[in-house]
Amino acid sequence: MTNNNRDTIYRVNEHSSVSEKTLNSALTDYVYAGKKEWSWFIKLLVLSLGACFTVAGILFFFAYNWTELHKFAKLGLIQGLLICAISITLIPSFSKTIKSIVLAAASMLVGVLFAVFGQIYQTGANAYDFFLGWSIFIFLWVLISNFPPLWLIFVVLVETTVHLYAEQVAYYWEEQTPFIILFCLNVLFLATTIYVKSRIKGIHVPIWFVNTLSILAAIYGTAGAISELFQYHHDDRVYIFVYIALVVYGLGVYFGLRKKNIFYLVVIAFSSIIIISAIIIRAGGDFEMFFGVFIFSALSVTGVIKGLLTLQKKWSNE
C-alpha cells in the first residue's frame, strides 16, 4: 500500500544520505500516481461530473416548471421513472451492481412519489406515516436485494418512523421510551444480521453494516440510560430495560472475546464509561462530581485501552 511505501521512503531518507534525484525517482515509482491511475481518475472525474451536471440540469428544469405542471403529469413522471428503474433491474444483461444501485434509487423514488402525493393532495398526514408507508412498501425489495446500502436506508427509515411517531403522536410518552424502543429495535436488527451472516450462505453481510448497527444500538442504549437517570420519577418498567441492556452488553462482550472482534468491546466500553460518568454526575454534588468524572474517565479509558491493546497483542500472537 502506498501509505506504507511513503512511510518506508521517509524513514530511510531520514537516516541516510540519499540524494534528491534518487528520492524523487523512488517517490515517482512507489508513491505517486502513474499512467493507469491518472487514466482511471480522469475518466471517472469527467464521467461523474458529466452525469451529475446533466441530471442536475434536468432536475432544475423540472423544478423551474413544477408549479405549472398538471398533477397527473407530476405523478405520472415519477411513476414512469419508477417503472423504468424496476424494468432495468429485471433485464439480465446488466451487472448485479448496477441493478442493486438502480433498485436503491427506485426505493428512494417511492419516497419521492409519496411526498409528491402528499404535497398535491395536502393529505395532512403526520410525517411519521409517510415514513411508515415508505418503509412498508420497500420492505420486500430490501429483503430480496442482497444490497447492504439498501438495508441501511431501510434501517434509517424505520428509525425515523419511530422518532417521528414519538414526537408527533405519542408525545405523552416519557423521554426515554423512544430511546429504549430504538435500542431494542437495533438489537433486533443486529441479532438478525448476525444470524443471517453466520447461518445463511448466499448473503454476504459486510462488516461495516454490522458495526454501524452496533454503534446505533449503543448510542440509543446510552441515550436511553442517561435520560432515564435524569428523570424525576422512575417506572418499574425501567428494570426490564436494565435487564435487557445488561444481557445485550454481556452477550456483546462474550461475542467480542470469542470471535476476537475488538469492535464490540470498544463500543461497549465507550458506552459504559459514558453511562457510569452520568451516574457519578447524578449521584455526586457540584464540585466533587466533575473532579470525580475527570479522575474516573482518565483512569477507566487508560485502563480499558491498556486491556484492549494487551488483548489485541495476545490475539495476534496466537
Binding site: I9, V12, S17, N24, A33, G34, K43, T54, G57, F60
Partner: protein
C-alpha cells in the same frame, strides 16, 4: 506500479543508484521501525483514546472553572502555559496513543486559556496572534508527532491570517494572502523530494505541513471572504479579485504539464495548443471564482502525490464550491438548468473522446 517495497529492497536500490556515496545509520533506522511497529493499533482503539483524552481533559477544565479560576486572568494565563508545557513534555516523553490524546487536548485548551487571558488583559489581537505564532514555532522545534505538528502549523497559518485581517484587512489583502498560500501549497507539494532531501531532520514535519496547507487553503477559499465582516471599509482597495484565479490557473497548467508528461514523452505543437488551450478555456469562467479553480488544484495535486486525505478534502470542497457558484449565480433557474445540462453534455463528450482515444491506442 505502486507495488509494495520493503525497507531492505529500498536501501539496496538507493545504494545502487547513489553509486557508493550512500551512507545509512542502520541502528537509528532499526530503532524507529521497532518503535512504529509497537504503536500500530486499530482505528477503533485510536478513536477510543481520542475520546478518552478529550473527555478527561474537558472534565478537568470544568473542574478548574468550578474553582472560580475565571476570575483571575493571571491564573488562567499560568494554567494555560502550564497545560501547554505539560502537553509538550507528555508528547516528548511518551509515545503511546492514549497519552497523545490527553496531550493534544491539553495543548488546545492551553491555547484557548492563553488567548482568553491575554484578551482580558487588554492585549491587541495582533500581538496575541504573534505570540501564538512564536508558540507554534517553539512547539514545532520540540515535538515531532503528527497531530501536534499539524495543530502548530494550522495555528501559524490561522494566526497569520488573523494578523492580516486585524492590521490591514481588505479584499485586496485577503486576495494577496490567498495567492501566497496557493504558491506555498504548490511549492511544498510539488517539491516533496527537494524538501525531504535537504531537510532530513525535519522530514517528520512534511506531512503535517502539507495537510495544514490543504486545510488552510480550503478554508480560505470557501469561507475566507466572510472575514470581510471584520475589516476596515474606509481603507482604499485595489481590485485584484482576478489575481488568485490567474495564479491558480497557472499552477493548474503546470500540473497539467506534469500529468501529460506521464502520458506522452513529447507533445506536438497542435497537441500542446489543444491541451493547454482547452484547460485555459475550462478555467476561464472561474476568473472571479477562485474557490472553483483552487479546489480543483487541490484535487489534482492530491491525486498526483497520492494523498488520500487531502484528496477527499479537495473533492468535498470542490463539490461544495460548485454548489456555491451556481447558487450565487445571478440568473434565472431556467438559464441555470440549461447551463448545467450543456456543461454536463460537454463533460460526457470529453469522457467519450477520452475513452475512444485510449481504446484506439490500446488497439494499436
Amino acid at each position: 506500479m505502486n507495488k509494495d517495497i520493503s525497507t531492505e529492497e529500498l536501501i539496496h536500490q538507493f545504494s545502487v543508484a547513489e553509486d557508493g556515496s550512500f551512507t545509512l545509520r542502520e541502528d537509528a533506522l532499526k530503532d524507529e521501525i521497532t518503535e512504529q511497529a509497537e504503536n500500530k493499533t486499530s482505528i477503533a482503539i485510536t478513536i477510543l483514546s481520542i475520546f478518552g483524552g478529550v473527555f478527561s481533559t474537558g472534565a478537568f477544565l470544568a473542574f478548574l472553572f468550578i474553582t472560580g479560576i475565571y476570575e483571575s486572568e493571571e491564573a488562567i494565563l499560568v494554567s494555560g502555559i502550564g497545560l501547554i508545557g505539560a502537553s509538550l513534555w507528555l508528547n516528548k516523553a511518551f509515545n503511546k496513543i492514549s497519552i497523545d490524546a490527553i496531550g493534544v487536548t491539553a495543548y488546545l485548551i492551553g491555547l484557548v486559556m492563553i488567548g482568553f487571558s491575554f484578551a482580558e488583559m487588554g492585549l491587541l489581537p495582533f500581538h496575541v496572534f504573534m505570540i501564538f505564532i512564536v508558540l507554534a514555532f517553539v512547539s514545532l522545534a520540540i515535538i515531532r508527532t503528527f497531530v501536534l505538528s499539524l495543530l502548530s502549523f494550522l495555528l501559524i497559518f490561522g494566526s497569520s491570517f488573523g494578523m492580516v485581517i486585524e492590521n490591514a484587512g481588505t479584499f485586496t489583502t485577503i486576495n494577496i494572502y490567498m495567492v501566497v498560500l496557493v504558491l506555498l501549497f504548490a511549492g511544498v507539494s510539488l517539491n516533496e523530494s527537494t524538501i525531504l532531501a535537504h531537510a532530513k531532520k525535519l522530514s517528520k514535519l512534511y506531512q503535517p505541513l502539507y495537510l495544514a496547507l490543504v486545510v488552510s487553503l480550503t478554508s480560505l477559499l470557501l469561507v475566507g471572504f466572510t472575514a470581510i465582516n471584520y475589516v476596515d471599509y474606509e481603507a482604499s482597495t485595489v481590485d485584484v479579485s482576478w489575481l488568485p484565479s490567474i495564479i491558480i490557473s497557472m499552477a493548474i497548467l503546470y500540473v497539467t504539464f506534469k500529468i501529460t508528461s506521464i502520458f506522452f514523452v513529447e507533445l506536438s505543437q497542435l497537441q500542446q495548443i489543444f491541451i493547454y488551450g482547452g484547460t485555459i478555456l475550462i478555467l476561464a469562467p472561474t476568473l472571479f471564482a477562485p474557490s472553483l479553480s483552487g479546489t480543483l488544484l487541490i484535487v489534482l495535486i492530491s491525486y498526483y502525490v497520492n494523498n488520500k486525505v487531502s484528496l477527499v478534502i479537495g473533492l468535498l470542497a470542490f463539490i461544495y464550491s460548485i454548489f456555491q457558484f451556481y447558487y450565487y449565480l445571478g440568473y434565472t433557474l431556467l438559464f441555470k438548468s440549461i447551463l448545467l445540462f450543456v456543461t454536463g453534455i460537454l463533460f460526457l463528450l470529453v469522457y467519450f473522446v477520452f475513452t475512444f482515444k485510449s481504446t484506439s491506442n490500446e488497439k494499436i
